[in-house]
């Protein structure tokens, strides 16, 4: 297969785009596309300070690399979770995050959960009994809490995470299976800042997971390859495998699934009935039951009317 740009031997083939590129052109193409998506979804401007959540994995290190190559002011945040799992998982991921920061002369903030709160993630999970034997729930909750806290405390304008399209499609798939309307309505490349919450953006949301792997390999970025020891058998990985089977038979299926969802959400056509209900119903000022009438509900109006008629 030949590179579409130069005709040399291609290294990366993106079937969903019918595009094959050599290593050099792929390393140009991916940051260009990232910049396009940053602008398209209005994630941030070159004048804003970005905090990149860095786990030591391919997506977050790839994202940090791309943002700095594009000239953005992006610092990193590594959260020490205290996960060992027999493979020194946290230790290794911390080492690789530090190595990347040192090699590229970037600033990395490190927060160790155990030092900060007296308990590692597995200890917190065990003591709170959350997560049904796995610390993933406690881990996700703690990461979101700490990422938000650090971003706000240190005055960053935006928090960037390395979620890729496979992450987003798996999340969308899970929420669609359970018709979690509230989560579906909030999913997207940008979660705007609200009272107490920093703006969150996902600049890699349109790249497949294999594209990010290819980027790190082509750039020579050393990332933690071993999966978190607690991730085995997780629902998100199961959904990703299912979606990859679909993608294998129908190239572009994952991308279409996600993009059509974003279009539907933006158009306001998702779960429109709920909005209609909210718009037209309010509580009756007398009995509290929902009504579309301006003040009293039809029943209370009827009773009032009946009682106001003098007895004959």
């Amino acid at each position: 297969m030949k590179c579409k740009k130069c005709g040399n031997k291609a290294s990366v083939h993106m079937r969903q785009h019918k595009l094959a590129l050599c290593k050099e052109h792929y390393l140009e193409w991916l940051p260009e596309q990232t910049e396009r998506f940053i602008k398209k979804y209005e994630m941030f401007t070159p004048y804003e300070k970005i905090l990149v959540a860095v786990s030591g994995g391919k997506d977050s290190l790839g994202l940090w690399d791309i943002l700095t190559r594009l000239g953005y002011h992006a610092d990193g945040l590594y959260l020490g979770l205290g996960i060992d799992g027999g493979i020194s998982y946290s230790h290794e991921s911390h080492r690789l995050a530090e190595k990347f920061a040192n090699d590229h002369e970037l600033k990395l903030h490190v927060v160790d959960i155990e030092k900060e709160y007296g308990q590692s993630i597995p200890m917190l999970a065990e003591k709170t009994h959350r997560g049904y034997g796995k610390p993933c729930a406690v881990c996700g909750l703690s990461k979101r809490h700490e990422m938000n806290r650090i971003a706000r405390d240190l005055g960053y304008d935006v928090l960037a995470t390395g979620h890729n399209l496979d992450d987003e499609a798996a999340q969308l798939f899970g929420n669609t299976l359970s018709w979690s309307a509230d989560f579906l309505l909030r999913q997207g490349p940008v979660l705007p800042a609200t009272e107490g919450l920093a703006r969150k953006v996902k600049p890699l949301c349109r790249f497949y997971e294999r594209e990010m792997t290819a980027y790190c390999l082509a750039r020579g970025i050393e990332y933690v390859y071993e999966e978190c020891p607690f991730a085995e058998g997780s629902q998100s990985i199961y959904y990703k495998e299912l979606l990859n089977k679909l993608e294998n038979d129908r190239p572009g299926a994952k991308l279409t699934f996600y993009l059509r969802f974003l279009e539907a959400r933006k158009s306001g056509n998702l779960f429109i009935e709920k909005d209609i209900a909210r718009e037209h119903l309010h509580a009756c000022s007398k009995c509290g039951q929902p009504t579309s009438a301006p003040d009293l509900c039809s029943f209370c109006r009827m009773i009032e009317k009946v009682n106001s008629v003098p007895a004959s």
């Binding site: 297969m1 291609a10 290294s11 990366v12 083939h13 094959a20 290593k23 994995g57 391919k58 997506d59 959350r130 997560g131 049904y132 993933c136 729930a137 881990c139 996700g140 909750l141 979101r144 809490h145 938000n148 806290r149 706000r152 995470t161 496979d166 992450d167 798996a170 999340q171 899970g174 929420n175 359970s178 979690s180 509230d182 989560f183 909030r186 009272e195 107490g196 919450l197 997971e209 294999r210 990010m212 792997t213 290819a214 390999l217 082509a218 999966e227 978190c228 607690f230 991730a231 085995e232 997780s234 629902q235 998100s236 990985i237 990703k240 495998e241 990859n244 089977k245 993608e247 294998n248």
Partner: protein, 92 residues
């Protein structure tokens, strides 16, 4: 006379002369789930594998965490928006 495919600790052997795509199908590995490298270079599905080639397959899937949360006010201690925990795990 073989080609070796290596995925994590697992090794597979296929005959030379096949394409990478056919080799992956032969050993039941979903092409979407891996990136293949040979002699340190990424190779694509139409690559014809030669005798003695050692193809390293790099798994691309990662993930596993994430829970569903709801905002439920602001924490008095840390001033950050507080979350209500739910069991389902589809929000990242």
């Amino acid at each position: 006379m073989t080609v070796k495919l290596i995925l994590r600790e697992q090794e597979y052997e296929v005959k030379p002369g096949m394409t990478l795509l056919d080799s992956l199908k032969k050993v039941n590995i979903l092409p979407e789930s891996v990136i293949a490298t040979c002699a340190g270079e990424m190779i694509l599905e139409d690559e014809i594998l030669k005798d003695g080639d050692v193809v390293k397959l790099i798994a691309v899937i990662s993930g596993g965490s994430g829970i569903a949360i709801r905002e439920s006010g602001t924490c008095d201690e840390c001033r950050v928006t507080n979350f209500e925990y739910r069991r389902v795990s589809h929000e990242m």
